[in-house]
Symmetry: C2
Subunit: 182 residues, 2 copies
Amino acid sequence: MYRVSQLAAKFGLSRSTLIYYDQEGLLSPSGRSGAGYRLYSERDLERLAAIVSFRKAGLSIEETRVLLASGEGEQSVLRKRLAVIGDQIRALQAQQHLLARMLRVQSGGELPESVDKETWVAMLRAAGMDDEAMETWHAEFERRAPQAHHSFLLSLGIGEQEAQAIRAWSAAGGKEGAVREG
Amino acid sequence: MYRVSQLAAKFGLSRSTLIYYDQEGLLSPSGRSGAGYRLYSERDLERLAAIVSFRKAGLSIEETRVLLASGEGEQSVLRKRLAVIGDQIRALQAQQHLLARMLRVQSGGELPESVDKETWVAMLRAAGMDDEAMETWHAEFERRAPQAHHSFLLSLGIGEQEAQAIRAWSAAGGKEGAVREG
DNA sequence: ACTAAACCGTGAAGCTGTAGACGGGTCAAT
DNA sequence: ATTGACCCGTCTACAGCTTCACGGTTTAGT
């Protein structure tokens, strides 16, 4: 049987956090001592281990509760979180761009704020990539991270329609269509 | 002279937000009507435009206040925020990996929505790039668009320090240091 | 002149997840 | 029995808003 601060230390959490979990009904100690102290059992410890891993994945208390209640099969919650993370990363990247632009305006640099399609292609060519290699690269990109592939294309200033065309072409292995490079 | 909801609508904010900014002393209306209504001037509008852009970059109320107070030259706040964004993106990518593993355990494979350093390197390798080619590529990137190069490295979840190391190495033509790949 | 809708102000409460303060309980050593 | 160190439970606060409630104001329409 662990007391609250002991258990907290064991998991690198703060005492307040465990108390909060108790209040939320996410992890209530299986017992109390004579003095009213929270006493956590081994079973509580295991549950906490699961909680911690879900929380590390950024799931909310509520989502964590759902997952613990529903056994294992709840993929939807995880998938949803994955989508949210994607959105958040994209939002942060947008902020990066904003900040970069602000800093450049102040320091007066003349360099392009972001790379366009031509520059990008030129850089890859300088590194020895030929058309076929770029095709392979796009295909890999599409296979491993379709969303990121899309964002990347847009970041080069490529329009939504052309981006979709490139992706379709990548997915098909570059068989058809006249998308030339990049 | 605008009234609070009008101004809010103009900037896509809610009435509450403007009232909150007023309470915080971030943007107080330059006047009040006979009935005590907040009246915003053109100057207020300009100030709000600045506030909105800073907030879009993820700066806190407090940081925004500092920037507005200190005129222009306050780059430190922006740089600090840039570093924080990098941390956050890295944290989110770690969560992506965790979630992807969880889902993979439960079913088949899942695809990430944003690319990290390892994935990026793997894609370039798949397209036939070797270490030397990557070196050339980094050097080109640094030469043509240093700022974008920096942003790009950060977007892969690479830390500020390592990013600077890679850039220095790129600029020097990859002569020294044990920066391995990417 | 009057009414209804749409606006305004203030104030309080709520949200998430955590940190910290407060006063009092517990425990080993004296 | 008593000191001190440490622990406990409970309560409050934080960002950055939003929502709600209550009551006054303006405005358009009749």
